[in-house]
């Protein structure tokens, strides 16, 4: 025992004597943190939404490269042979090396948190939960590092093997690129990688409801880590020449892979492929487009508590909570979008060009079950044409109570998301969008479809503008909705506007779509091919404005 303690101490001492290791272990995580800070500079609370990603990258790097390189280079040079001459089990030396690496990872993680707090991030919401999530993630990845060390014959092989695991995990594994930006196939793939579970678990403890909501992720990390450690022990070789000396050495690799595959299949089986946030966006579109969202299929492990509920034991103020929270889903998320729902365009956007998302206000939790609002009156064939006082238009019969009862604001996609984004008031448009925004602004003042007398048709036409831009994913997309909202609020009485918007939200398929092909004067290309998709966005933008007008989902 004395020997193991001594070895651990010596290992740490020697690590801090190695300048290159220090650079890799501490500078790299700091640079990554600063890069994220710059990348997401528009966020109100710096970095709080990215600590899961940042800490996971640190653990991943330390385990895939740091641990494996140390183990392999020591084995290659004969250090382990030297240890084997002593009356001590080689396994004990390996465990001590793993513990030393864990301690180093903890110090690197603390450095990242301290740096982030220095840049304005509040203390993580659940510090003790964070320790547990971080440790389980470290366990999973250190096991992976051990397997890499047993597979690789030399240090260059560690680098090659490490990269083939590290990079995919970063890009399509949900570690550096948000899952919400990934296409569906990558989401399915990422369920087989430990990275996304580490990010989910850690993130939930930093600005989420804590570990209670990420039981599956913790289980996944535990399974993957255990399988890797068992495989690492089975494949263990203290001498470089001893590769798979035992006849069943390669079989142990299957154990490690079984951990990954098992977790992925479990995630598939439990419908956990689509992350909650994205599922909520899709559900919101379904709801706003007046299509019943599919019944929740996720087991009740994800608590139906409102995501923004103040976390116990947190030092955050309510306002900080509000800004810190990003999860719009307040109810179990459906695993798949409704078949008829226009699916949001998948955006495999690398983190580097993801539009800077703005923090989302806390939606008011509503117990209302996802429902298809009953159409109060039969829909007219062409509602836009009937505005005579003698026969009120169907939308005029809409009541405020109906609006508030039927609409589910807490299922709306976040304004900071990739679907129907709306910039915050203090978010400055980037310079390259100024010209386009000028053209648009000036064009809107005289745009004929935006000046038709029928208030329903005019509203519908104007709301098509941000919807088309959103579908096209133009760089101006977050800045246009408010511009249109301002025009609508200026020109139309608030009560009338709410009724009209409600009508549009629940009948997005009714009415003329002609305006979609008349946007040239606004500097917008004509006609996206999928009108259903545009109508879906139309509904969401309509409900978002109702939320602002009624205070049910206010803008920041």
């Amino acid at each position: 025992m004395n020997g193991i303690w001594h070895q651990l101490r010596t290992h740490l001492t020697l690590y801090f004597r190695n300048r290159m290791a220090m650079l890799y272990g501490y500078l790299f995580p700091s640079v990554f943190l600063l890069a994220f800070y710059v990348l997401y500079r528009y966020e109100r609370v710096p970095l709080v939404r990215h600590m899961g990603e940042l800490l996971t990258v640190t653990i991943l790097g330390g385990a895939c490269f740091g641990l494996a390189t140390t183990l392999v280079s020591e084995r290659e040079r004969g250090v382990w042979r030297r240890y084997r001459l002593a009356p001590i089990a080689t396994g004990a030396i390996v465990v001590s090396t793993l513990v030393a690496r864990y301690i180093l990872l903890v110090t690197a993680g603390l450095l990242q948190i301290a740096l982030a707090m220095g840049l304005g991030m509040p203390l993580p919401a659940h510090p003790l939960h964070l320790v547990v999530a971080f440790s389980l993630a470290a366990f999973a990845f250190l096991g992976l590092g051990l397997v890499i060390a047993m597979l690789a014959d030399n240090v260059p092989a560690v680098q090659a093997l490490g990269q083939t695991i590290f990079l995919p995990m970063l890009i399509i594994g949900g570690v550096a690129v948000p899952l919400t930006s990934l296409p569906d196939w990558a989401l399915h793939l990422s369920a087989y990688f430990p990275g996304r579970y580490a990010v989910e678990a850690i993130q939930a403890t930093v600005n989420g409801p804590g570990l209670g909501s990420v039981g599956f992720s913790l289980l996944a990390l535990l399974l993957i880590g255990t399988a890797a450690c068992v495989a690492g022990a089975g494949m263990f070789r203290w001498d470089a020449k001893q590769r798979f000396a035992t006849s069943h050495g390669k079989g142990w690799l299957a154990v490690a892979l079984a951990g990954w595959v098992g977790v992925g299949l479990l995630a598939q089986w439990q419908h956990r492929i689509i992350p909650m946030e994205l599922a909520a966006e899709r559900a919101a579109i379904a709801a706003a487009a007046n299509r019943p969202a599919p019944a929740p299929t996720v087991p009740a492990e994800e608590p139906p508590a409102p995501a923004g509920a103040p976390a116990s034991g947190s030092d955050l103020t309510a306002d900080e909570h509000a800004s810190a929270d990003t999860t719009p889903a307040a109810s179990p998320a459906p695993s798949e979008p409704a078949p008829a729902t226009p699916a949001p365009t998948s955006r495999p956007t690398p983190a580097a060009i993801t539009p800077p998302p703005a923090p989302e206000p806390v939606p008011t939790p509503r117990p209302t079950a996802p429902s298809a609002p009953a159409a109060p009156t039969p829909a007219p064939a062409r509602p836009a044409e009937s505005t005579t006082a003698a026969e009120p238009a169907p939308w005029e019969k809409v009541t405020r109570d109906q609006v508030m009862a039927d609409l589910v604001f807490d299922r709306l996609p976040p304004d900071s998301g990739v679907v129907t984004p709306i910039a915050t008031a203090d978010q400055e448009p980037p310079e390259e969008t100024w010209t386009d925004l000028d053209v648009l602004y000036n064009g809107l003042q005289t745009w004929a479809p935006g000046r038709v007398p029928d208030v329903l048709e005019r509203t519908r036409n104007l709301l098509f503008v941000p919807s088309v831009i959103d579908v096209f994913q133009l760089p101006t997309e977050p800045y246009v909705p408010q511009m249109v909202y301002d025009i609508l609020e200026r020109d139309i009485d608030k009560d009338v506007l709410i009724k009209v918007l409600y009508w549009i939200a629940v009948h997005p398929d009714e009415g003329s779509d002609a305006a979609v092909d008349q946007m040239a004067p606004l500097g917008i290309p004509n006609g996206p091919s999928d009108i259903q998709e545009v109508r879906g966005r139309l509904g969401v933008y309509a409900v978002k404005l109702i939320g602002r007008l009624t205070g049910a989902r206010p803008a920041r």
């Binding site: 070895q7 010596t10 004969g78 042979r81």
Partner: protein
């Protein structure tokens, strides 16, 4: 007192290659025992089996009265080792290394005492990477003594060192003898073996081909003497075939225009064969008919040759007479006793092309 080490019928096979093919030896208490052999003879495999680094296929290994195959940890408590292929962690200092490895043992010597004993005090706190070759080897020896061992294994301790560092190391090892330590030493340096070892085992192709005290091995071999001569004019090589007592002839410089005969080889004579312990009937050294030495072809003419004989007087007389008869005068003539190297080369000549194990 029972022997410190008793190895019998040790066998280890790597695929088709039998690296150790039934090795036996014993090391008595307080003895410096040398394992000699060319590269690939099986020395390293033997020592790794004995140390428990690899599992032998068969055989018994008894160290300090313990069954080494059953109680490897207990054996390691009593044994110190300096192996060629081991290394220390990066950037560690000699003092830290001695402290670290000392912590693994129940019984240990203080780092300060070992640093002093192996003249490393001034280098105690610098990184190991900055030490000279000799200093590194002294540190390896110090590490081998960190647990005050009953038995020390030194694997080629002077390999790659300059003459000065070698002399320092030799002094250290001789001091071990004075201190009463039991040492197992592997080397392929004959002078070193002759200087340091009380007893030797020569290994070839995974077998022990001879054991004994260095001077006995040399003395046995010395009964065979070596005659080397050059002549002023070429003479027929066939002339040498009829010399009495000469067992093996190697042509030296050939006469111009004659074909090359290849490598020089020597072979112990049947009649005057050294009374070495010959292990294994298949040893080529024990089989006079299997003598692999090159003989000059009958129709070639040569100007020099080396002969081995156990009756140097008779052989010399016959040689001079025969040359006289052909009208050939002698330019040079040397007669010398065998060295340990001759013994070694004799016994291991056929195994030098084996792959390293």
């Amino acid at each position: 007192m029972p022997p410190k080490v008793r190895v019998s019928d040790l066998r280890k096979r790597y695929g088709a290659l039998e690296a150790v093919a039934g090795i036996d030896f014993t090391i008595e208490d307080g003895e410096i025992f040398g394992l000699l052999g060319p590269n690939g003879a099986g020395k390293t495999t033997t020592i790794e089996c004995v140390l428990g680094l690899i599992q032998p296929d068969a055989g018994t290994i008894e160290i300090c009265g313990l069954d080494a195959r059953r109680e490897p940890r207990a054996v390691r408590e009593k044994v110190g080792a300096a192996l060629q292929t081991t290394a220390l962690p990066d950037r560690i200092t000699p003092r830290e290394a001695l402290d670290l490895f000392g912590a693994f043992y129940q019984r240990r010597e203080s780092a300060a005492a070992l640093l002093d004993r192996f003249s490393l005090t001034t280098k105690a706190d610098v990184a190991v990477d900055t030490l000279s070759g000799g200093q590194k080897q002294r540190l390896a020896l110090a590490l081998a003594f960190v647990n005050a061992p009953e038995l020390v294994f030194l694997d080629e301790p002077t390999a790659g060192l300059d003459a000065h560092a070698r002399r320092e190391l030799h002094a250290e090892i001789q001091q071990m003898r004075c201190d009463g330590h039991t040492v197992l030493l592997t080397t392929h340096d004959m002078d070193e073996a002759a200087l340091l070892c009380d007893r030797l085992a020569i290994i070839s192709k995974g077998r022990v081909v001879a054991t004994g005290r260095p001077r006995d091995l040399i003395a046995d071999s010395a009964r065979v003497q070596q005659i080397t001569f050059t002549t002023a004019r070429p003479f027929p090589a066939a002339l040498l075939d009829v010399l009495p007592g000469a067992s093996d002839m190697s042509p030296g410089a050939e006469a111009p225009g004659l074909r090359e005969e290849g490598d020089v080889s020597r072979q112990a004579d049947l009649n005057g064969a050294p009374r070495l312990r010959q292990d294994g009937d298949k040893s080529p050294q024990a089989d006079p008919d299997g003598a692999p030495g090159l003989r000059p072809r009958g129709d070639t003419e040569i100007t020099s040759a080396t002969l081995r004989t156990s009756t140097p007087g008779a052989t010399l007389l016959a040689l001079v007479t025969a040359l006289e008869a052909h009208g050939v005068g002698l330019d040079e003539l040397h007669v010398r006793k065998a060295t340990l190297e001759d013994v070694f080369v004799d016994l291991t000549a056929t195994s030098t092309t084996e792959p390293t194990t």
